[in-house]
């Protein structure tokens, strides 16, 4: 690396043109299939996840219409089973996790000053695999083969004896697709965050959003294998008559619950931690100070990631458990409130000691804190075994987890949408519509879910398609259903705002919020190569600290896609790495994965056919192109120079 002391205004249009020629997507439909640009893929993740969010919302609204009065006839029991299973499955597997992955894949490279993610081809493949999984399950649903055993598909209900047909098989394979996509994205985000940061961005300067995405990714790596293993066992029990969950042959139905919840509880934090990252990222812009307690926030995120793996049995308090187990998991469940509480106090301190500007992103952030705290309070209540046994499988639980997920995932996500929309599109969302969006959603959430606490206390069970008049649950259910309408209308306002602002929104400029972090150093929207030169940072708020002049490093290739790798701890420049560029093969490999798993639902021939096709496609995917220039080689330190051949 050559140090130079030049100071210059960098107006080098030919550099931008050269880089754009190398990095930009190919034109037309083929460009859509071949892109490996993290921004294009991440936008697709978010848009696809949002479509699934709308579908799940329609399912929820239909269920609320059914439950709005006693003995209603909109949905029959079988259809209702499919609706609540699809709603939960969609929200968890096709919306919440993929949307947070999409946000991470979009922002992490921009926040760390990189030109793309690590492994861009794998990134493209992950998206296609996710899409295939979503299309598969909705294809089944639209032909009346939607899964109907609940989003956690408990055995033996989901086993071959009680769920004949292909409904649960489709569900199990959809799980496999989404797990593959999530695991690929997790490895990509971790590698990008640890190896592709701008010079100077040592671990203690990493933006909190990046930390949250990294912890989310580590959690995915240790949680998703559990549900993938469980769904593999379930699929095999159903398709080739293994006996994992068949008690008559030495299997165990509770094995499913352990494997599922070992994934399922961390899943809550996989969705929620990026939400906390979003809040910590936008607070400085709207309080005009750096976030309070950076070390405490980062350590809280990491602690939550660890503790989240010690809570899964609290979903199983109604199963036979040893008393010591109950006590341990009660304590662990209460313990997780501590790091989450620390985060909330840090946010309050930031707002309190700053100069808050109540724009829509901040409103959603504050709404998130209020709703999540309410969900957290009921969480502490049901961490207690005696209380949990009273309300287990009632609407109290439905109220609790909707407060947690809406407060911890949906509100931060909307805050993030309003905050980063200018960066993604170059235009601002309407502030007036944004406030309508916020207040309708805030009121709608309470109107829908608060009455459910009472309904649960009164004993109304989950997953019933109707109830009798004499139960007295009609009024509160009607309030909840009207609340759902209000939430629905808030989402319509949001959609209208997005559609209108895409064409008519105010032009944003590079940094409309006068924000502190690197994604705002480049244009809005960011060019195909993100940054023409690599930014150099010397603190946690690079744009506030660098004034009008951003220090940069030059020297990356202009004639091919090349990225800078830096060291893990201190982000010192270490090496350069060539990216393969845009290619169709990730899409084709994803198709072969689709053929493999979907054929397996119907025939064991999926195994040899899918394997052979996959191997052929992967060979083409990986086959090298000719290098552009002679490599500069640096051998491992363990190799004595005398041994290196000339």
């Amino acid at each position: 690396m050559t140090a130079t002391a030049r100071v210059e205004t960098l107006v080098e249009p030919e550099l931008d043109l050269e880089l754009d020629a190398v990095w930009r997507n190919r034109p037309g439909f083929i460009g859509w299939l071949t892109t490996t640009d993290h921004k294009s893929i991440a936008k697709r993740y978010v848009a696809t996840a949002f479509i699934f969010f709308l579908l799940a919302g329609v399912e929820a609204a239909t269920m609320r219409a059914q439950l709005s009065r006693p003995e209603n006839g909109i949905l029959g029991p079988d259809r209702y089973n499919q609706f609540f299973t699809m709603h939960g499955t969609t929200m968890m597997f096709l919306f919440a996790v993929p949307v947070m992955i999409g946000v991470g894949l979009y922002l992490v490279p921009l926040l760390v000053g990189a030109r793309n993610v690590a492994f861009p081809r794998a990134n493209a493949m992950g998206y296609w695999v996710y899409l295939i999984g979503g299309v598969l399950i909705y294809g089944g649903f639209f032909v009346n083969s939607g899964p109907d055993a609940g989003w956690f598909a408990y055995t033996p209900l989901s086993g071959p004896e009680f769920s004949p047909g292909k409904r649960v098989d489709i569900w199990a394979q959809m799980i496999t697709f989404t797990e593959i996509a999530a695991l690929i994205a997790a490895v990509i985000i971790i590698t990008t965050a640890f190896r592709m940061r701008s010079p100077g961005m040592s671990l203690n300067r990493i933006p909190i959003m990046v930390w949250a995405s990294v912890v989310m990714s580590f959690m995915i790596i240790f949680a998703m294998p559990s549900v993938a293993t469980a769904s593999l066992f379930l699929a095999m029990d159903r398709l080739i008559s293994t006996h994992f969950f068949n008690a008559a042959e030495g299997g165990d139905a509770l094995l499913w619950q352990h494997l599922f919840w070992f994934f399922g509880h961390p899943e809550v934090y996989i969705m929620f931690l990026p939400g906390t990252g979003i809040i910590s990222s936008l607070l400085p812009s709207f309080t005009r100070r750096s976030v309070f307690g950076y070390p405490a926030l980062v350590l809280s995120i990491i602690a939550t990631g660890f503790i989240a793996f010690g809570l899964w049995v609290h979903h199983m308090f109604a199963t036979p458990l040893p008393q010591l187990g109950q006590s341990f998991f009660t304590a662990a469940s209460a313990l997780v409130a501590i790091p989450n509480g620390i985060q909330i106090f840090c946010w309050i301190a930031t707002i309190w000691t700053g100069r808050p500007i109540f724009r829509t992103p901040l409103l959603f952030a504050i709404g998130s804190i209020i709703i999540f705290v309410m969900g957290g309070m009921t969480g502490v209540m049901i961490a207690s075994v005696p209380f949990d046994l009273q309300v287990h499988d009632t609407y109290f639980i439905v109220a609790h987890f909707h407060y947690v997920i809406l407060g911890g995932v949906v509100f931060p996500l909307f805050a993030g949408m309003y905050y980063w929309f200018p960066k993604v599109t170059g235009r601002m969302l309407s502030e007036t519509a944004g406030k309508w969006n916020f207040w309708l959603m805030f009121i709608g959430v309470h109107a829908t879910f608060f009455p459910m606490h009472q309904l649960g206390m009164e004993g109304m069970p989950r997953r019933v398609y109707t109830y009798l008049e004499g139960t007295g649950w009609g009024d509160l259910n009607l309030v909840a259903s009207l609340g759902a309408l209000v939430i629905f209308s808030s989402v319509v306002v949001f959609l209208g705002n997005v559609i209108h602002s895409l064409r008519h929104g105010a032009i944003a400029g590079a940094n409309p919020w006068d924000a502190e972090s690197l994604e705002w150093a480049t244009t809005s929207p960011a060019p195909s190569y993100n940054f023409a030169n690599t930014p150099v940072v010397s603190g946690r708020a690079p744009l506030w600290e660098s004034g009008d002049e951003l220090p940069v490093m030059t020297g990356l290739a202009r004639d091919r896609q090349q990225v800078l790798l830096t060291t893990v701890l201190d982000a010192e420049p270490d090496s350069r790495h060539d990216h393969p560029g845009h290619t169709i093969w990730p899409f084709i490999v994803a198709l072969t994965i689709g053929i493999f798993f979907i054929t397996l639902i119907f025939s064991p021939w999926g195994l040899p056919i899918g394997t052979v096709l996959g191997f052929i496609a992967y060979a083409r995917y990986i086959w090298p192109k000719k290098s552009h220039e002679p490599a500069i080689v640096e051998l491992p330190r363990s190799v004595p120079a005398a041994e290196v051949p000339k």
Binding site: M1, T2, A3, T4, E8, T9, L10, A118, A122, A186, V187, I190, T191, R195, P199, I221, M224, P225, T229, L232, D237, I240, T242, H243, F244, A247, E249, G250, G251, D252, L255, H258, N533, D548, E549, L550, P551, V552, M553, T554, G555, L565, V568, P573, D574, R576, H577, I622, W623, P624, K626, I632, V633, E634, L635, P636, S638, V639, E643, V644
Partner: protein, 201 residues
């Protein structure tokens, strides 16, 4: 528009580096963790299911045979020096020796995979006979897919090193050898679980 101040030039940084300095190694390591953890969950399932029957393996099931699995384990363990040797040759960018190591590694992977297929008969149970059979077959098959993937990778990178032997592929050869070491290491505890679990648990 924000001005930029050039403080350094990175054009002389290396483009071929080894170990965890190499980006691809991060991907390989990530998937080794994921696969290793998944195998660990299968092992936990094996132990969890053990409690459901009074005897293990269940009544009417013979103990697994040890001959073929033990031969395969021996081949795998004995192949470790070859993997390390290939890794070291690749780290020194010795084209001829690296190619020899890769060809031998490919042969070993094919032999191990063939023996793995033969191992299924040694279990003396079917996947659909009992939960014991189900988990034993699954562990054997799941770990076998790692061997299959490594076999595919090794043959592929051998072809690349003969047809397009550029310097950037040497770190990948070293990575591939590391993956084989992981494949063997992940199998050793599972071998004892599957073949000695029925005798000791």
């Amino acid at each position: 528009m924000r001005r930029e101040r050039i403080v350094a030039d990175v054009s002389q940084l290396p483009t071929v580096v080894y170990g965890m300095r190499n980006l691809v190694s991060w991907g390989t390591t990530g998937f080794m963790i994921i696969e290793g953890f998944s195998l660990g969950l299968c092992a936990v399932t094996y132990v969890y299911l053990r409690k459901n029957t009074a005897v293990w393996p269940p009544h009417g099931t013979q103990l697994p045979q040890l001959l073929v699995p033990t031969i395969n384990l021996a081949v795998m363990v004995l192949s470790l020096p070859l993997a390390l040797w290939t890794k070291h040759r690749a780290e020194r960018m010795e084209r001829g020796a690296t190619r020899v190591g890769l060809v031998l590694s490919s042969i070993v992977a094919v032999v191990v995979f063939g023996l793995r297929l033969a191992e299924f008969a040694s279990l003396h149970t079917q996947w659909n006979s009992s939960a014991y059979g189900s988990i034993a077959w699954t562990i054997l098959g799941f770990q076998g897919t790692l061997i299959l993937i490594d076999m595919y990778d090794t043959i592929g990178i051998t072809a690349i090193m003969f047809l397009r032997p550029e310097s950037k592929w040497y770190p990948e050869v070293a990575d591939n050898a590391l993956y084989w070491i992981f494949t063997v290491a992940s199998w050793i505890p599972l071998y004892f679980l599957i073949y000695f679990g029925p005798r000791w648990l």
